[in-house]
């Protein structure tokens, strides 16, 4: 969490899209921007890129007000996936309330996925976040492509970890909202535990997820 101002009844949360280079993190955010209702969603801010590769981060904010009057702002960030931008990744990861790990489904990318996940684990430890308590979702993106790892195989790997896995094609626009909803829903559990979202602020999981992530149209 970036900020919690009890007097102003305001809270700023941070969700981070992590993953190897070119796995589709930025594309996920672009799709969310297009697919979700305009109310409660802010502008997508894409910081400088180099040949379409993220070098700083992308940012998409969401807003909602709880029945108690608590104003909640959720900032969704992408990190640069390229190995050399590790310092930026660490800075973005700082104080994250949840992470969506966007993996590239192509068989050729298995090694990159594993390395990037290892990098996530290491960086979480460095910025002082306990990975076992962090709301985490894995998205296997680019399911529209041919040479991809079978879903069965993926579930076999991730099943035992208890981390939810969502197949997606950010290009075609499916699985993206589901990923986001899963992440938001998991984040809710943590926040409810810490800030009594339901009891004090009258905010249920369903309304939290719906207000943040309802499809437009």
């Amino acid at each position: 969490m970036i900020e919690y101002d009890d007097a102003e009844k305001r809270m700023v949360l941070k969700l981070v899209y992590y993953g190897p280079a070119l796995s589709g993190k930025t594309t996920n955010l672009l799709r969310l921007h297009d697919l979700l209702v305009k109310e409660g969603r802010g502008d997508l801010m894409v910081l400088d890129t180099q040949d379409d590769r993220t070098i700083f981060f992308d940012l998409l904010p969401f807003f909602l007000v709880a029945p108690s009057g608590l104003k909640i702002k959720v900032k969704v960030y992408t990190v640069p996936g390229q190995v050399q931008h590790d310092a930026t990744r660490k800075a973005v990861l700082q104080r994250a309330d949840g992470v969506a790990f966007i993996a590239d489904s192509r068989r050729t990318e298995a090694k990159n996925n594993a390395e990037s996940f290892g990098n996530l684990e290491r960086n979480l430890a460095i910025v002082g976040i306990d990975i076992d308590r962090l709301p985490l979702v894995i998205q296997y993106n680019k399911r529209d492509l041919n040479d991809i790892t079978a879903e069965e195989e993926i579930r076999k790997v991730w099943g035992p970890t208890g981390i939810p896995m969502v197949p997606a094609s950010a290009l075609q626009g499916w699985g993206v909202v589901e990923t986001f909803r899963t992440l938001v829903s998991r984040a809710y559990d943590n926040l409810d535990r810490k800030h009594a979202f339901r009891d004090t602020h009258g905010l249920t999981r369903e309304s939290f997820v719906d207000r943040l992530a309802s499809r437009a149209g």
């Binding site: 970036i2 941070k14 700083f56 940012l59 702002k73 310092a87 660490k90 800075a91």
Partner: protein, 439 residues
């Protein structure tokens, strides 16, 4: 900057801290826009933050008949402030359109500024963090370097300690070797002394018997003299008694016995003198030494160790006097000679040659034993190396000899004796200006 639980310092900084309109826009950017608006016919236009506090421009008076037109300025899609105008004109006119235009311009400006700030922030953060990490890496490196240096230092100390320990152990072993060789020597000398001592003792016992007979005989003479007579019968009695005591026979024997006994004690005296000479027991420290004499001295105390029937050849030429601790040299000669004497049991011939060769004192000790194969020659001066059967020697004798020679700047080598056997050759530097007489 804070430290984490492992004591690592790190920058705690979170990208994308919330910002207000005032932080994102500057007076210098907003003022021209507002004055341009005023010129275009929008006087009193101003910008307020989310709470309604005026940030830029003048609010003006709330004159009657005027309405308030306002446009929201969004930051990240969230309302962050308003552009406000008090106007008398009805809504939907040019003024409202201009107002929207100003609000959009401000929002665009704010958006771009925020983007630039975030980029700069991230850039600074990354630079700082990289710098922090470099410092951290450097700190770790110097810490581990320090650790290695300490390790290396303690290693040096340990090596030094072990070396000292070894040196002490070596000294002890050399000492033991000396004691052992002295012991062996003592056994030989004891044997040598025992012989004369045995017959000296036996002679003295006989002389004791003789003496009592002489005294007995004298007593008789005395009594006869005191009675004042030398009558025939007295003379007969005395003669008979003299015969019974066999005085005439033992009197010359007593002389022989005394001569032999004196010879015996003389032999013992000489042995003791040799031993003293060999051990240099009366001398302290260094002194001039005639090595020929030292070899002789050593030989004289070793007579018991020379196998029966062995031939000792001495080919001594004068050698310059050298300053040394002569006792040490005797020790070395003892070791070399003992080696030679053990070379074979029968038919042993040991040749000792001394002289000067190529500006050095050359001493050689040749035996006609089995010799030392070339592949072992390099090792025989090493501690514990022995070709003798187990128990006969600790294998330190040649090491001690080696140490003594090298500590005097000399060399010791082993060669073949022509016709078979080993020849130990000691070469010592001649000390210039040291030709004084041996004391």
């Amino acid at each position: 900057m804070i430290a984490d639980n492992e004591g690592r310092r790190r920058i705690i900084y979170c990208v994308g801290e919330e910002r207000s309109l005032r932080e994102v826009l500057s007076e210098a950017e907003v003022a021209p826009l507002l004055s341009a608006a005023a010129k275009a016919g929008l006087p009193g236009v101003h910008v307020a933050d989310g709470e309604g506090n005026v940030l830029w421009g003048a609010a003006g008076n709330a004159a009657a008949g005027k309405r308030t037109a306002a446009r929201t300025v969004r930051l990240e899609g969230e309302p962050a402030g308003k552009v406000i105008l008090r106007t008398g004109t009805p809504p939907g006119g040019t003024e409202d359109a201009l107002l929207s235009l100003i609000a959009d311009a401000l929002a665009t400006m704010a958006h771009n500024n925020l983007k630039r700030m975030l980029t700069t922030e991230m850039h600074t953060e990354v630079v700082n963090r990289s710098y922090e990490e470099l410092l951290e890496t450097n700190r770790k490196l110097s810490a581990s370097e320090q650790r290695y240096r300490e390790l290396a230092e303690s290693l040096e100390i340990k090596v030094r300690e072990r070396t000292q320990e070894l040196a002490r152990a070596m000294t002890r072993l050399v000492q033991q070797e000396k004691m052992a060789s002295v012991g062996q020597l003592a056994a030989g000398v004891a044997h040598e002394i025992n012989n004369p001592l045995a017959f000296v003792t036996s002679n003295i016992h006989t002389l004791k018997k003789y003496t009592s007979r002489f005294l007995d005989m004298l007593g008789r003479y005395e009594r006869v003299c005191e009675q004042g007579g030398v009558a025939q019968q007295d003379r007969d009695g005395l003669r008979k008694h003299r015969e019974a005591l066999r005085i005439d026979a033992i009197a010359p024997d007593a002389g022989d016995l005394i001569r032999q006994t004196l010879e015996g004690t003389e032999r013992v005296r000489k042995i003791v003198a040799d031993l003293k000479g060999f051990s240099h027991i009366d001398e302290e420290g260094e002194g001039p030494a005639d090595l020929n004499r030292e070899i002789e001295r050593t030989l004289s105390v070793m007579t018991q160790e020379i196998p029966p029937g062995a031939r000792i050849v001495r080919e001594f030429s004068p050698v310059p006097v050298i300053t040394c601790r002569p006792g040490l040299f005797c020790q070395m000669f003892l070791n070399l000679l003992r080696n030679a004497f053990q070379a074979r049991r029968e038919g042993l011939c040991v040749a000792i040659r001394t002289g000067v060769s190529e500006d050095r004192i050359r001493l050689s000790f040749a035996d006609n034993g089995p010799g030392i194969p070339p592949d072992r020659r390099a090792r025989i001066f090493e501690p514990f190396y022995t070709t003798r059967e187990v128990g006969k020697g600790k294998g330190m004798g040649l090491t001690v000899a080696y140490d003594i020679v090298t500590s005097h700047g000399g060399t010791i080598d082993v060669e073949d004796t022509p016709g078979g056997g080993a020849t130990f050759v000691v070469k010592l530097p001649i000390q210039r200006g040291c030709h004084d007489q041996v004391r």
